[in-house]
């Protein structure tokens, strides 16, 4: 793709898509705040921002999954539209191509392309001949003419799957196509091929919204780039005029609105509590070695999917390991050891998936608080309810959980208060090492700061904390040491002084395979 072709879509007439003053509020807070976004015919418009900046929320509003808050408007070809559900979005000509292709493995290429949209014969049966012909046509226009339309989707390679996904939205007659990180599963050649495809679509007047973390690609393929940060629009730039530094600044240079507690520096750092050597999980983690020390906060930075959570889940024992060793508290940790024993030895892990792996949603705060310590408050297998209430009340008071009664269903609490209960129940085990995976995701500012103070307090008491976070300011504000993970490898280890947003960010991007 040459940048020159960007002029085609540049400022030709009216935009085909205009999203005006789009806000979106979820329980956890504002995901989008007054964002404007537009797209011209035949334009490739890049959409960038850190994890949680609001890119996917914006795209989900466009595709009818979410509704914008009052005051937000969407105009297509100059006409105001309400996109009430994904079906309407498809009918309006908006096509979504997801990061992970969502093909049905047992159906063949043509069937996947026309799923839900099958060409019919007069008598009401599917016209498979026409379906194959049309599919061939689409694939040819995507440079995948050699792909047999009767291959089962399960047997396709990653780029082929992408081609089929794009053919699917073309079959729906999409005029605006959203590509969510399409190159994350592609190698260099396939990426070049994809860009050729996008060039072809552009020439046909189709607009493309292109979400990517790979900055270099934006310079190659886009006409304009819109940057989001913390749900706000920070800028829309012409690709021919923008600079790399400028882009990074718009992405991460936010005002420091969060006050982090003072770091204890090297004062509190003690002996190593965790030593990981040569840890391997095939296809996910490659030869990872590091140490975590008592009394320090070790930040694990990296993009979602880089392997941060996967690493700690494998170390902890929730995910499998294919090689390497883990020494915890001076003792070699066997791969087969029961989670319960690991926890009892003082190693705990707070999952990033609060709903799926943290809370027991229809049970009470009390039940949620005491599950890991049941055997400690029981005799002969029977739970002492009075002790249970005492322990639960202690957590509520100690961490100032906002709750009417410990008998309240935990799902009725705010995300932040749920998180406090979860962290509190692990503290009951007197951990020596606590791994917090995205502990502040979807949590309001007030509770965030309480959690930060708690982390610092634990640290001062000699507990080791490993903090996994996509929020760079949080990593910088809290960590005594930062390890950057990229593509399942350690890309860099930085001291608190060395770590800056730009520097960490550069390892995110540079560390990727090019």
């Amino acid at each position: 793709m040459q940048q020159g072709s960007g002029v085609v879509g540049g400022n030709m007439g009216e935009p085909v898509l205009e999203m005006k003053n789009i806000s979106k509020t979820f329980d956890g807070g504002k995901a989008l705040d007054g964002v404007n976004f537009s797209c011209y015919a035949g334009e490739v418009h890049g959409l960038v921002g850190e994890n949680g900046a609001g890119k996917s929320t914006l795209v989900k509003i466009l595709s009818g999954v979410h509704q914008p808050d009052k005051g937000g408007e969407i105009h297509l070809w100059g006409k105001k539209c309400v996109i009430g559900n994904p079906r309407i979005a498809e009918e309006l000509g908006i096509g979504m191509v997801f990061q992970e292709p969502r093909l049905i493995p047992d159906l063949d290429v043509a069937e996947n392309v026309f799923i839900g949209n099958e060409p019919m014969k007069k008598r009401g049966s599917i016209d498979s001949k026409r379906m194959s012909e049309l599919t061939k046509g689409f694939l040819r226009s995507l440079n995948f003419g050699s792909l047999d339309v009767h291959t089962k989707a399960a047997r396709l390679s990653a780029p082929e799957k992408h081609a089929v996904e794009i053919a699917r939205v073309l079959a729906l007659n999409a005029k605006i196509i959203v590509l969510d990180e399409p190159t994350s599963s592609l190698g260099l050649n396939d990426t070049a091929n994809l860009f050729k495809v996008l060039g072809g679509l552009k020439d046909r007047g189709i607009s493309i919204i292109y979400i990517s973390h790979r900055l270099d690609e934006l310079f190659q393929i886009t006409d304009r780039v819109t940057v989001l940060r913390d749900g706000r629009l920070t800028g829309t730039l012409k690709s021919t005029e923008m600079q790399r530094e400028q882009l990074i600044n718009l992405m991460i240079g936010r005002p420091l609105n969060m006050v982090y507690p003072e770091k204890s520096g090297s004062r509190s750092r003690g002996d190593p509590i965790l030593e990981v050597t040569g840890l391997r999980r095939d296809g996910v983690l490659h030869d990872i070695s590091f140490k975590a020390y008592r009394g320090e906060v070790l930040g694990l930075a990296g993009l979602v999917g880089a392997g941060r959570s996967e690493l700690m889940r494998s170390v902890f024992g929730l995910d499998p390991v294919d090689g390497g060793g883990v020494v915890f508290d001076g003792r070699r940790k066997s791969r087969k050891v029961a989670l319960k024993k690991t926890m009892a030895s003082g190693f705990v892990y707070v999952s990033e998936d609060r709903k799926g792996e943290g809370i027991l949603s229809s049970l009470s705060v009390k039940e949620n608080a005491i599950v890991p310590i049941l055997d400690r408050i029981s005799r002969m297998g029977f739970v002492n309810d009075r002790k249970g209430k005492k322990e639960a009340n202690h957590i509520v008071e100690d961490l100032d959980v906002k709750v009417a009664s410990i008998q309240q269903e935990i799902s009725s609490l705010s995300g932040g208060n749920q998180q406090k209960v979860i962290v509190g129940r692990w503290l009951k085990l007197n951990p020596k090492l606590i791994v917090l995976d995205e502990p502040t995701q979807g949590i309001d500012v007030g509770v965030k700061q309480e959690l930060y103070r708690l982390i610092r307090r634990l640290c001062d008491e000699g507990v080791a904390v490993i903090l996994i976070s996509s929020d760079l300011p949080e990593i910088l504000g809290m960590s005594d040491r930062v390890i950057v993970i990229s593509d399942g490898r350690i890309a860099a280890e930085l001291s608190s002084e060395e770590a800056t947003e730009e520097r960490i960010c550069s390892y995110f991007v540079e560390g990727k395979s090019y």
Binding site: K340, T342, Y349, E357, I359, L360, L363, P372, S405, Q407
Partner: protein
């Protein structure tokens, strides 16, 4: 706890709606059949409810853990013919026969649980399959015609009385209290609820989720075996299909009471209400003197109606 929080309010509404149905039913039958409230009939209902109740309590354990057991009826019929077969009607054989039968139950529960949990096969497929196998084995064993008799002491368990109270009902009460304590007070009970609500979260908290789920099937099958002993004493005969329909009756009792089939919600009290409702419906239909074919249809319709009504109520009020 004085504050009526959202959660408990929702719970009590749920319970109240089914209680309302129960009360309406009681009042209705009293008007239609004045003799319904004679002491004898009430005791009869309690006695009949006992064997359904015990197996329904077993089913409650499985459902709380997020599963379902469709093999209880076949197992119960097996236990019924085995009981007659092994004792040949002799009381002397009862002390060792009953433990053996309970062990048979435990074994079947272990098979169910093991395949479901360790091989990750859907519960309804496994238990339905096991049910068919058990039916086949039973027919081979009995050659189509069960022999032997039900011993006197077992008959006492199933239809005898202490004073005016049916013995079966006392056994049922005992099982009920033990189940309640295990579910509410024991570590196992707390773990079972946790696994039913969110197996992944439970696992990450160090609960041995596989063991808990397998145990729920074992408990269910043991209770089904116990229930079959009471049933044998009640019907006083060995019959190849003596427990026919008990799968659906036990699940109906659990669901009618308000225990959610998705797992993790409900408990003994809920199931008790369901069991009482089933006992009443059965009794009233018999009272109305309907033909057996009509009885089946009427019973099924009442269940569907009650569940539909009550789920509708739960949704609008909650």
């Amino acid at each position: 706890m004085l504050l009526p929080t959202k959660a408990t309010l929702k719970g009590s509404l749920r319970r109240n709606s089914i209680l309302t149905i129960l009360l309406v039913f009681l009042a209705g039958s009293a008007i239609l059949f004045p003799s319904f409230y004679k002491l004898n009939n009430i005791l009869n209902i309690l006695c009949q409810s006992s064997y359904i109740g015990i197996v329904s309590l077993g089913q409650t354990f499985v459902v709380l853990g997020g599963g379902i057991d469709l093999s209880v009826a076949s197992l119960m019929s097996c236990i019924n013919v085995l009981l007659a077969n092994l004792t040949l009607g002799k009381d002397a054989a009862v002390p060792w026969t009953i433990p053996v039968l309970l062990l048979v139950g435990a074994g079947i529960g272990l098979v169910n649980g093991f395949i479901i949990v360790k091989r990750r096969v859907p519960a309804f497929v496994v238990t339905l399959g096991v049910a068919v196998v058990l039916n086949g084995l039973r027919l081979i064993l009995t050659n189509g015609a069960p022999f032997g008799y039900i011993p006197r002491s077992v008959r006492f368990l199933g239809s005898g009385k202490l004073g005016i109270i049916p013995v079966a009902f006392l056994v049922f009460l005992l099982v009920m209290v033990v189940s309640h304590v295990v579910l509410k007070k024991a570590i196992f009970g707390r773990h079972l609820y946790a696994v039913g609500v969110n197996e992944k979260a439970s696992h990450s908290m160090g609960i041995r989720t596989d063991g808990v789920r397998i145990a729920s099937y074992v408990i269910c099958s043991v209770m089904a075996a116990l229930s079959a002993v009471i049933l044998s004493g009640y019907i006083n005969t060995a019959d190849n299909w003596s427990a026919k329909g008990m799968d659906l009756d036990s699940i109906a009792a659990v669901v009618l009471g308000g225990t959610m089939l998705e797992g993790g919600r409900g408990g003994v009290i809920y199931t008790m209400i369901g069991v009482l409702l089933i006992g009443l419906v059965t009794n009233v239909i018999v009272y109305a003197g309907l033909a057996i074919e009509i009885q089946l249809i009427a019973k099924a319709l009442v269940f569907i109606l009650a569940v539909a009504l009550y789920h509708g109520l739960a949704r609008t009020k909650a």
